[in-house]
Amino acid sequence: MLSFELGEDLTQIQATVRDFAQREIRPALRKTERSGASKALAERYEELGLFGLDWPADLGGQGMGALARVIVEEELSLGDVGTAFALDRGGAAAVFLKAAGGERASSALSELLRNKGSAALAMAEDVKAQDDFRTTARKVGGGWELSGKKSFVLNGAEASQYVVLAQVEQGKGLAGAGAFLVQGGSAGLAPGKALITLGLQAVPMCEVLLERLSLPSSARLDEPGKLQGLLRSFYDALSLVTAARAVGLAGASFEYARAYAEERQAFGKPIGHFQAIAFLLADMATAVDAARWLLWKAAWASERGAATAEAAEAQAQALEAAFFCANSAVQILGGAGYVQDHPVEKWMRDAKTLSLYGLHAQAAHATLAAAELGQELSAAELFPIPSLHPAIS
């Protein structure tokens, strides 16, 4: 029937998280960027039940749907997108585990909820483009032995659980790859070089080194030959999270620039009263809304079945809105936008970085185009791993 009313429950959640984001996340944003989420923020986040919000209740989650999750992520990112990443200690790995399902992944998730640990997804590699991962998983005895180097891993140094993608059968690309669950602190697992990033610095990124890491046979999360399908549902879910954070980032940039344009005077009136600024703000407001509706529609659709094209579409649209709004906000603030007294320079860096997270912008477009053209694209075209340009995870 086409209704755009959120309903009481979701409106309540939205208001609660908005309040948290504005009162606690926003004022601490520079500190969080430097040293991660404070204990106080993390505790409040858990207290509000925001971690595991969309995980099944039998794992200890809140059992809420995708729409609730994207609303929460958007509101957190309205406070600060970097903090939304920092508070989410499950990260992309938890989204992967949820998509994987099965006993091993499920117990990893409930452990994450219980022991307050964190997870990391070691996917991409910083090597010349090719079809196979260089990181290998060899069958040794009754288990596995992993060797190689992963890169662009958020929270790669300190996670209590890792999901690692590795090549099981050479020359088969993703069809011959597997996903493995690794406990933090295992012998043979070590953080590599720290990677200083453009944005989203609240979660440190590094390489992850695997040297003859021994795993039990039960560590494999995917069924052989079914990794691509798993990746598909993983990216579908992650795209919604990414898009929600992008919409929040876009909204924060718009609102910050709007408020500034009302205050800042030039030639005897607020700069917002000049068309060049006002029209830009009008376009920013429209971009935020346009992205949000695609996002909500995709989340709504994903609660009713597979929504690959919708999720990719929402992500690409939201990333465009995020960079457009953050870039415009810096422009509207002028010199003030470029210095760290204001958050917009950070959000502009964050927006660029965000467009390389998960299913990055090009892969999202390729996914959407494939659906529209009825094409069977190769895994290399659809997924940012192992080749093309690798994405952050």
Binding site: L2, S3, A278, F279, H365, L373, G374
Partner: protein, 403 residues
């Protein structure tokens, strides 16, 4: 609750209008563009199946719906949503032909919103007759378009009558219309407070067609200049009666019609963009370069995906504005957002589609060449893109009165 699905009624309207657009509109569209006219046979069919450009209210015997109609008791009015769903499908058939459909057109909403009961019966009731009739909306003048307050057409009270003088231009269906809502000023010094809307009927002495415009696109649609030379209209033709203009509301009533017409025009832009996009997708599948379909190239995929998501986003902005109108929530900002975004998107999509199709995109016997010409005006009429941005700006920036 959030719901992005169509109700059964909405889906039926969508399918019925789409069927008509595909089977009746598309086949005549290219010829209509070249000859600048719509076949009588087509107009007859339109009347037969009961399609109307602009809703005719139930109270005068029409199908109901549209701006100004009272919310039903359950609060489930969905006319605006039905209108935009239908408008997208019809424009998908052809963006020029849709403007030629008989009915009150853009003249309907002001009559509906401002008109007295008698006026509604008199001017909207005619559309329930079997013969095709048109209404029109006469606001723009050679010297006043976006700045509505600047209109110069004068109305001077003369006993029970008003004497109208001035020129209106770019009036869709202006020559064939049975009546035109003509905006005039009784006192220029009063600005908008001096504005009045008159129902000027075809054949009134002194009321004539100046010229019919030759345009870049929408050539099948009639765009007329109307000359008012000492046109005497009875005070019964003053929309809403004198009392209407004494209240604070006054001329702003006319502006309110945009809250439901802008999403509709935006929906048409979505329909055209979608039509062109579908052509590009087909083309990208079938057209080979260097041994593979061009849809296999990343660059083409990028263009198509970008078009697709912006079209879908436009549609949601349209639905949201229409839903707000149905719920009687103030939606001026959202209506303008839908129009600004959908029109710009459609212009860009058409440009990209022509590019994807290469030479085939610019030759006359393909629709995209025509749609490329047609679409530009969607960013101009019913409030230019700039006007939409002024409307939005004023609602997001405090104390912004003018630039």
């Amino acid at each position: 609750m959030i719901d992005f699905s169509y109700s059964e009624l909405q889906d039926n309207v969508r399918q019925m209008v789409h069927w008509f657009a595909e089977n009746e509109v598309r086949p005549i569209a290219l010829a209509a563009d070249r000859t600048h006219r719509i076949p009588d046979e087509f107009i007859r069919k339109v009347k037969e199946i009961g399609l109307s450009m602009g809703p005719v209210p139930k109270e005068v015997g029409g199908e109901g719906g549209g701006a100004g109609e009272k919310k039903d008791k359950k609060g489930t009015r969905q006319n605006n949503r039905l209108s935009v769903i239908g408008a997208e499908e019809m424009a998908w058939g052809d963006p020029a032909v849709i403007l030629c459909l008989p009915g009150p057109g853009l003249g309907g909403p002001p009559v509906n919103i401002m008109g007295t009961k008698e006026q509604k019966e008199r001017f909207l009731g005619i559309f329930t007759r079997p013969e095709p009739l048109w209404g029109a909306y006469g606001l723009t003048e050679p010297g006043a378009g976006s700045d509505v307050a600047g209109i110069r057409t004068t109305a001077v009270k003369d006993g029970d009558h008003y004497l109208l003088n001035g020129t209106k231009c770019f009036i869709t269906n202006g020559a064939r219309a049975s009546w035109v809502v003509v905006f005039a000023t009784v006192d220029r010094s009063k600005g908008r407070a001096g504005h009045r809307a008159f129902m000027v009927e075809k054949g009134t002495p002194g009321f004539s067609v100046g010229k019919l415009e030759e345009k870049m696109g929408l050539r099948a649609s009639e765009t007329a200049e109307l000359v008012l030379d000492n046109v005497r209209v009875h005070q019964d033709n003053l929309l809403g009666g004198e009392a209407y203009y004494e209240g604070k509301e006054g001329f702003m009533g006319a502006m309110k019609t945009f809250d439901s017409t802008r999403p509709m025009v935006a929906a048409m832009a979505v329909g055209i963009a979608r039509a062109a996009y579908e052509r590009a997708v087909e083309f990208a599948k079938e057209h080979f370069e260097l041994g593979r379909p061009i849809g296999r190239y990343h660059y083409v995929q990028e263009l198509l995906a970008r078009s697709k998501r912006r079209i879908d986003a436009s549609r949601l902005l349209v639905y949201r504005a229409a839903w707000m109108a149905d719920a009687e929530l103030p939606n001026a900002k959202e209506a303008s957002m839908s129009k600004a975004y959908a029109a710009r998107t459609a212009v860009e999509v058409l440009s990209d589609v022509v590019q994807v199709m290469g030479a085939a995109g610019v030759v006359h016997d393909h629709f995209v060449e025509k749609w490329f010409r047609d679409i530009k005006v969607y960013d101009i009429f019913e409030g230019t893109g700039e006007i939409q941005r002024i409307v939005i700006s004023k609602r997001i920036l405090k104390d912004l009165k003018s630039f």
